[in-house]
Every structure is written in C-alpha cells, then in structure tokens.
Amino acid sequence: MVLLSSSAQHIYWLGRYLFRIGHVASHLPFSTDQQAAEFAQALSLQIDDAENLNQFMLARAQPYSLLSQLEIARDNIQELRGLLTAEAYAEINYLIKNTPSDALAIQQVVEECCSILKAEQEEIFLFFDIGQAVEQIDTYFRFYQNIDHVIEAVDFKVKRLFSLGWNDLEPSWEILKTEPYLNQFYAFTYKLENQFEVHA
C-alpha cells in the first residue's frame, strides 16, 4: 500500500474529530449551569447555562455542534474513499449520515467508527491513533488534566513515525515529554502538520 501524505493527514484529522466529538458527547447533557459554563469556557465558548449548551451541541445548523463536526469527519472519510475498504467506507458513511441528534447515539456512532477503522490496514490505524492521542492531549490541556499517561501511552506510536522518516518530529516530541506544557504541545503539532506537507 502506498499511503499518501494527504490521506494520512485526513486519517489523522478523522481521529482528532472523532475523539473530540466522543468526549463532548460523553459530558452531555449538562444539568447545572456552573458545570456547563466551565465546560464551555474550556472550549472557548461563551455559553453559561446548561440548557443552551445542551441545545447548541446537538443543533444541526450550528457549525460547532457535534453533528456539524461529524459532518467534517465525514468529509475526511470522503477524501479517503479510494483508500478504505468499500465496507469500511460504506458503514462509516452510513453511520454518520444517519446519526440522530442525541448524545448517547453520537457516542455510539463514534465508538463504532473507531472500531471499524481499527480493522483497516495497520498504517491507516497508526495515523488515526495518533490523531486521537493528539486530540486527547489537547483536551486534557483545556481541562487542566495531567497528560503524562497519555504521552506515555502514545510514545511508541510516535516513534513509529520516526521509522517512516519523520525524524524532524523527534526533538519537539522529546521536549514535550520532558516539558509537558501547552507551548511545547503546539510546537509538536506544528511540526507534525508540517510533515504532511513536506516531500523528501
């Protein structure tokens, strides 16, 4: 299999979007305004009551809603149509197209999509997995959670990228491991994004 850089980038972003959607959906619905306001603030949203945030996240018309983000994930799937197996494409496309406006159903769709992608070729899943891990780190930073165990868990996967010739990533990854701060994280993701564009 020849994996295009652009395909790898679509897989990576698919991983990020599905993690993000799954994470937000797992917190819905909010029952207190304070809880909602704190969550919204972490996502840079100026919404301070539970009812509005619950509705906002499930509104099809809102560009930042979970359903809109699922559509963006579906865009990535369309771009990968020549690469994924026909079965994987059809099932993910079908699941996302028919997702109801319901937090629990959205979580289930995300889980099913992830398990379908896990069965695809190893290299495809590698980039998907890295996308999920990067989004998880991003999320943990937003919510002031410790990222050490995520970094530890994803370390060997990032190192597999080095074996593909993505050695430029190594310094920024090593720095992030020793200094797990937001700036170092951004420096690493900047380098990672850059790798999708360069050609040796």
């Binding site: 850089s5 369309q78 149509r81 020549g82 026909a86 050609h199």
Partner: protein
Amino acid sequence: MTEQEHNLHISTDYYAPDQTASTVSTDSSSFISQLSVSTNLFEQLKSEFFNEMLDDKSFNGEASKKIEQWLSIRSLDELKTLGTQAKQHFLYQGITFNVYGDQEGTERTIPYDLIPRVIEKKQWEKISTGCEQRVKALNYFLDDIYHAQHILKEGLIPAQQVMMHEAFQPHMLKHHLKGKIYSQISGIDIIRDGQGDFFVLEDNLRTPSGVSYMLESRKISQKLMPDLCTTNNLQSIEQYPMLLRAILEENAHVDNPLIVVLTPGRFNSAYYEHAFLAREMDVPLVTSRDLFVDDDKVFVKTVRGRQQVDVIYRRVDDEFLDPLTFKPDSTLGVAGLMSAYLQNNVVIANAPGTGVADDKSIYPYVDKMIEFYLGESPILSNVPTYQCRDHDQLDYVLGNLEKLVVKEAQGSGGYGMLIGPQADSQQIEEFRQKIIETPHLYIAQPTLALSVAPTLTTDGVAERHIDLRPFVLSSPYRTEIVPGGLTRVAMQAGSLVVNSSQGGGIKDTWVVETLRS
C-alpha cells in the same frame, strides 16, 4: 393487498419517431394474472420497436425465457421491493452522484433496472470485434494526425477540420507514444435500430465513465437474483479493474510502474467511480495536491517520502492537466506535467489530444479510417450523420429539423441536443438560429427507432429504449474488452435520453452462451 397490487402490470408506453412521445395510460384490463403471464409476459410488450428480448432471430431466447419466468412468478410488489433494495444498496454503498447545477447538491442514486439486458455470445463477438477494430483505427488516426498526417494529405478528412479542432493539441505533434496507443480506455456507444442492426452512436476517448456502474449492476443482480444469475452461465466482468491495471502497466515505460488515478476531487460527479477504480486496482487516488514535478519527473507525496509516478490514469480534462501548458488558472492539474510527459518520464492515459478523434464532427469519418489504416470494412456501422459545416448538408438539416436529432459536435451527457420529433416549434426555431450562427458546431442524425428492452416501472413491466457502452482497453500488446458493458436505459416512457444526469438508468448486461436453436 389488492389483486392488482399482486399482479404484474404491463404498461404500453412507447415512443414513435414521427410523433410527440406520449405516455399511454393503462387501464384495469392491462393487469394480468400471474398464471397467465408465466409464458408470455414479454410477448405482450410487442410494439413497433425492436425488442431485444423478443425480436432477435439469432437468439434462441433461452436466457430471456428464464428471466421471463422468474419475473412471472413474482408480484409487482415483490419486484418493487427488490428495486427498493437495489436503491438502498446504492445509497448505503455511497454510489451516488450530484447533478451539476443542482443547487441543493442532493445525492442521487442511479436508477437500476432489475431486468437484465441479454446479449447472445455470437452477437457479442460481433460487437467486441467491431469495437476493437474501431479503437485500433482511432489510435492509428491519432498517431497519424500527430505525425505524418497521411489521411489528411490523402484528402480523406479535411485537414482544417482536424488541425483547427479545439481538442487538437499541437504539443503532441511528433511525440511518439509507446505502441501508438493514445486511447487506453475507450467507451463505444452502441445502439440497435428497428431491424436490430447494431450502429455506433459515438466514440468516447477522453475520459469515458460508467464502468463502475457496469460492475455494480452485476454485483446487485447477483445479490437480488442469485438463482437467475447462476442458471444463465454469465460471462464474467469482475476482472475489469485488474485488467485495467495490467493494461496501464503495459503502457508504462518501466517495469513494475507506480500507477495513480488522478481525480479532480470529491466534488466531481464521477468521484465515486474514480475512488472505486483506484481501490479495486489497489493504486493511490490522487488530486493535484499530491503530485509535483521535479527535473521533468512526476512524484507523489507519500508518508515515506516522494515516489516517482510512472502512469497517470487521469480523470481530468486536457485543458486542466497542467497550468503551465493549458489553462493557467487550473488548480486541478500539475505544473510541469506536460514537460515530464513529453520527456517520456510518465504515461498519461488517455493521452492529451485524444479528444480530437471522438468529436461528433470527426465521427462520420471513422469508417474511412478503418478502411484507410486497417484495409478492412467496418464491422459496426455508423449512424448516417449530416455535418452542418457542409453547405448542402446544412440546407437539408435546416429543412428537416422536425425529423432529425441535432447535437453539439463537442457536447456530451445528452445536453445541447434537439430531438426534432419531440420538440415544439419554439425549440426548433431556437435551434435553427443557433445552427445558422455557428453551423460547424452541430451535426444531425435521423431519429432512429432505438431498440427497447423490458423494464420494470412503477406501473409494471414496460418497454424502454436502451443503448450499450462497452469499454475497450488497449496496450501496445493487446486490445481487451470485458463481455458486456454498461447498458443505459431511458427510464421515462418514450424518452431517447439515456444519460444518468438526465434521469437515465442502468441495466446489468448479460452475455450468455445460448446458441441459435
């Protein structure tokens, strides 16, 4: 469920060339019981048109009888349910297309007709040898016009008509192609007339599409009618993607070439087919963003670094291929691609400049090409064609617009066409003005009584007009054609337009080994 819903309903819609198409409504007497239809369902569709399931004398009708029996023991509701399952299958698989100009971007599935079209093997041999002959001559023609131009010097085709043609590419002059193959993938549109004779309606040598529908219609037929498919000893078509890959490899300048499929992207109406072919051939599907040219070589960006590309199966039109050579604002092409191509560092399939041979104004000369290059008589005939650029022929066309089909020489997709017998006086007058202003842009053909085939409609089984597009694959070493092709069907009663963008549907095409009895 009522009695009527249970039973098959024969609809008697038809198209008469000399009158406005009409839908003849059926009354309750047209409903027939299951028992009574079991042996003569198709017989009741007899009309003035050549019915491929009934009227073919070279055919013992064994396969068609089996299909008839299979249909007869099912109610209309059962058949409609199968049709719905087919639609759901296409939707689930994402086998959809968007119609240009449709502001809402609605995903549409192509209408699939459950009732297959049957071609007897001996008939198929005539079609396939005729198509192969035609494609060989067209490839010779392309090589000739870009090199010695014998056919132009002999005066068989007006030189100006070729050299001034907008698809003629001066960049291709004196450029040698391996095995003189310009069109690696060709789609030849074939129709049958009222006597059942085969005619070539047009050649498609640029980026002929529809092969994925051919393959998908077979898959769904096997899913919905497994018993019928196995009893008829169908010639297989599933090998097409790997055959295409092998043909592209044989056109390469190197062993074990890296092949890519170049698509304009996911918003293109044929994106599904591009992705399908890439996946089935196990080659990368790329857009312009994935490719770049360095030192007159084409590379693709992969996660393991650059890799040199040897063959590009492009589904992008000539004018967008390279912004340095053609349209400077094209974002679909690759800067420097033509330079790499002209250095023989990459193969582009089909070759740039191939379109000059499939234009409707060049089409009338294909018979002459066959005689000139191959020294043979054409196996398949052309439809008589009037060239409006010719004064005498123009006069005839203008005087007989109500009887003729007028087409844009460079048109496709069934657009820009006048079907005289179906047009009103205002449409005819509008076309008259267009033809008078730019006669060289139009050709005209007599309205043929296109053959029909039994087709499942909402009202029951009815006859509908059909055509056939076989796909011919060419390499320097061989010409291949999988048995069958894409049968397109005009789903509207009386309509002659089979294009999917205008409501046309598809049928599975069965080449079967039934011999004359």
